[in-house]
Assembly symmetry: C2
Homo-oligomer: 225 residues x 2
Amino acid sequence: MPTAIVLFSGGLDSTTCLALAKVSGYECHTVSFDYGQRHKAEMQAAQALSAHYGAKHHVIRLPTESFSGSALTDNSIDVPDHTGDSSIPVTYVPARNTIFLSFALGLAEVYKASAIFTGVSSIDYSHYPDCRPEFIQAFENMANLATKAAVEGSPVHIKTPLLHLSKAQTIALGTTLGVDYSQTISCYQANSSGEACGRCDSCSLRKQGFAEAKLTDVTRYTTPA
Amino acid sequence: MPTAIVLFSGGLDSTTCLALAKVSGYECHTVSFDYGQRHKAEMQAAQALSAHYGAKHHVIRLPTESFSGSALTDNSIDVPDHTGDSSIPVTYVPARNTIFLSFALGLAEVYKASAIFTGVSSIDYSHYPDCRPEFIQAFENMANLATKAAVEGSPVHIKTPLLHLSKAQTIALGTTLGVDYSQTISCYQANSSGEACGRCDSCSLRKQGFAEAKLTDVTRYTTPA
């Protein structure tokens, strides 16, 4: 059975990825990062969902300094409401996906994994540069020059099954796989019970996804949806 | 004045890099990683040398789990004596340079640095895949697709001034720049006073470098050199 490392926030996208990796026959390790982000309820969701899918859950605690200057980690910057603006927002975290994928690469080598799954999408995303296909391809190229495993003939593949899916398509796919989205947390500022704000970029995209997929939005909101 | 992030272990190579970055006119930030490696005396040397060169020193504490399986971090594996063998040794740490450079990339964006210096060499190295020129080029390509800074027109350059230098050439270069190599620590198992074993791969390459450069080996050894 091949092994996969799944970058796993406990959100809608990464849970869909995990369900896909499982159904594709991978033994899965999930990896979550704790870097002082606001949405700590995510971590509990990630743990419970990993257990549900029989995946070993790794939590990597990272120093927050290199992530300063983002509304996701700096309490002095407010998480903005969704505006539909196409510029890179203040929720952007410097080099985040690069750092996450680099740790996944280390874990992949340790656990002899042939795949790293990440739920990035180039369709309904928040204009983060490190969610684009060209970034993912460049990371895979680099990764396969970086490790002893790759040099010795066991390359790693960065799997991005949601890259060309809209949020609605992702939700439709996950629903066919039996994903219970009420247990996933996408909100940038979920409360300690895991209830979503319903207003941030992430909530807005998710809400719109359920609407477009013509599926009931099972998200638990703090304010009426 | 341009700003640079310098990957900095407090060893011979990275100290030469720092001296070069300074003389090239960069305002420097040094970054060291604490990941449970054996040679903690390095960290004290890194701090003292950063202060000497007027660089702001960042220490990033990383979880050790993703670095398991290496003689540098796992006390159950002995650091081997130098053999001259050309295979990838047990001191190899999975995805180490990828992870280090990824954090440097995050810091580069936060501090608006246009360069990241790393002291890798493809000549007198220990057969680590992530010290090869093709890896460095692939990392730079990836980095400039990853960040908001790059997308907005401020790319980062990965500077590897020692890439094609032998250890002897590096020592000769650093000596002309006034580097005090007695304060640098390269040994994989330096003691708490910063004295080197004189037998590991790293000590062996360094010792040979001083000999080939026809310069006095100022390294402090625990056993007679």
